[in-house]
Symmetry: C2
Amino acid sequence: MNNKIGPLNNTLDRCVAVIGLGYAGLPLAAVIANSGRSVIGIDVDKKRCGKINNGINPIPEEEGLDSLVRAYGGKTLVASTTYQDAKKCDFFIVIVPLFVDENNQPDFSMLENAFRNIGKVLKKGDCVVLETTVPPGTTETFVKDWLEEESKLHVGEFYLAYSPERIMTGVSVSRLKEFPKVVGGVDQHSGKVAFDVYKQFIGNLSLVSTARVAEFIKVIEGCYRFTNIALANELFKIAEELDLDFYEARQHANHQYCDIHLPSTGVGGHCIPVYPWFLIKEMEKRKKPDFTIMLQSSHGVNDGMIDYWIQRIIVYCKEVKKPLPHVKICIKGISFRKGVKSVHKSRNLALARLLKEKGLNVYVYDELFTRDEIEQMNLSFSTPDMVDVVFDPFTLELMSQESR
Amino acid sequence: MNNKIGPLNNTLDRCVAVIGLGYAGLPLAAVIANSGRSVIGIDVDKKRCGKINNGINPIPEEEGLDSLVRAYGGKTLVASTTYQDAKKCDFFIVIVPLFVDENNQPDFSMLENAFRNIGKVLKKGDCVVLETTVPPGTTETFVKDWLEEESKLHVGEFYLAYSPERIMTGVSVSRLKEFPKVVGGVDQHSGKVAFDVYKQFIGNLSLVSTARVAEFIKVIEGCYRFTNIALANELFKIAEELDLDFYEARQHANHQYCDIHLPSTGVGGHCIPVYPWFLIKEMEKRKKPDFTIMLQSSHGVNDGMIDYWIQRIIVYCKEVKKPLPHVKICIKGISFRKGVKSVHKSRNLALARLLKEKGLNVYVYDELFTRDEIEQMNLSFSTPDMVDVVFDPFTLELMSQESR
């Protein structure tokens, strides 16, 4: 290891610190360990660190992660809650969450904390890469400032780059091996240093011109999905109004030049519904709100889907021979995505809550949540077989007791 | 040939009439002739009919069409301006244009004329298929009524189906052989009869449940493209505002799950900008204008692109050391799409006109149009080398005399 700027090939055997061992960070840390290098993982969660150091995978649903954590955990992949343990590292990757507040403004506090802590142990010649999805420009402004302030070093003395995570919960390990990934530096040298190290463990890596472009790439990919889900929701509503089968039409409309997405109750989770706000808020700041019409409209359509479904559910309930407030309704799924045990920004949870607010007799069932967990959310639990009407938000099927 | 409803296989050697021998109709008629059957083509254009009957292809830019017209024109592919010449046919395909009026309402007059004329020669057991892209529901309502009124027959005595053309100017012949195509009947029997005949000359054919679904399939395919072009235009504007290279970002954002389209001056031509109106107007009629937010927003964004480009051109002109009204500007392209000699709903033509209205010194150049043709549009002609600033609407490049 070297404390001064040396030839680039010296960087190839760097010890890597990965800050954040969550759904995105741990698979990355494990894949880096698997490439033969030492990894120090930093996470606030002491219990999680303990598990990893004992070779126990805290994210069992992540395919291929078990064997990696078993092989390297506590050996070349050491988890810790203290940044001081990363002091000897010279390559830092930050992959902590970025949330938006109630006004859809990004809350940088976790990122700032991570970078200020890195700044305290940063040495000349070190390289820092951010992977968290952020508004374009974040790395070259905020991140640079935090690191320079704490380290008393300047970019040029250390390297700074951005490489967006492209994980997909459940298949993150294989994604790191195969899926296209980009990296861009705040200056050319930074990009090259980060690229040379990343290509040791990322299968399909491209160097792009700047960190800002790399940030933009990730955000617009999410905007594409968000907008196309809004379009699918809109076309679904029109198809239902025209009394034709949306899914049949979609199957035949889609081909190599057409990719109509699937309709839903809206878009939840940490990622897709958040990224459009990065651009909407930035353009608002620049007095260009008319540059984000499609993104704003997509929010309107996607966020409005729970109102649409409430109307559909109420119409359906009127078929049941009971006064409406007595009709037992079960929402069969509250996680934001099928198979992921999280209700973060879940539109399905929002749907259940709104039905309850409207005085309807609503129950919730989700195979990933216990009765206790559902009741702690202040909702009533019921299995689908005990109610009059079931709505499955993942298939968008409405079923009555009689029809089943 | 049989005049009564017989077993389906009797329909397989039917003589086919194709109504409309334009960009979509002639390739279809030629491909049907190539499958070994007799085709009568009906078109209002006498000169065009004469050419075809002499084996001369009136659409030379259509790949593979020359040899088909040479082989069958005037032999098994006979063009005529009179419907009476199609009297002996028992399979009718209508593929005439549908325009929208200044209020974006479809103008069905050409379709009505075609079907009423077919109705006059329609016999029991005949089958009629519409290929023109139309608002969902058109075949089972208007078309059925026109045919039944004129023929005094009822669906059941004749067959009626819909199969959207999926041509692409220039590659229509190969599209008919390979590209997925659907057909759906106004009743089950109609769908089956049309399917059995079509599959004799269409390579990749699917039978869908109804004519209405088949109509919807074609319309939503266009809506997908229109909306995604609007998204691309919006993301392009944001990228320029953030001072980063949209095309670099797009290249890396796109992968198997992401297909960000190309930005433009908006969307022109007969097809893509028209289809969203079919759904917008139908939902307006049903008092559901909030079901077409994405489509309406896409129109706003795409139609507004020429204002955006005018601003960009003016800012660029200010770099030239001349008073703004003296800066010679050349718009290098006015057709609605590169390589297609048509200005139908062309946003590039609209851009040139708007620049002129604003008192700017604007010239037009287009390799597909002569000086005379451009001057007949009440625009000034100039080659790009004679002006100060050139805007290429197909590449979106702005160039000054100095920079070239």
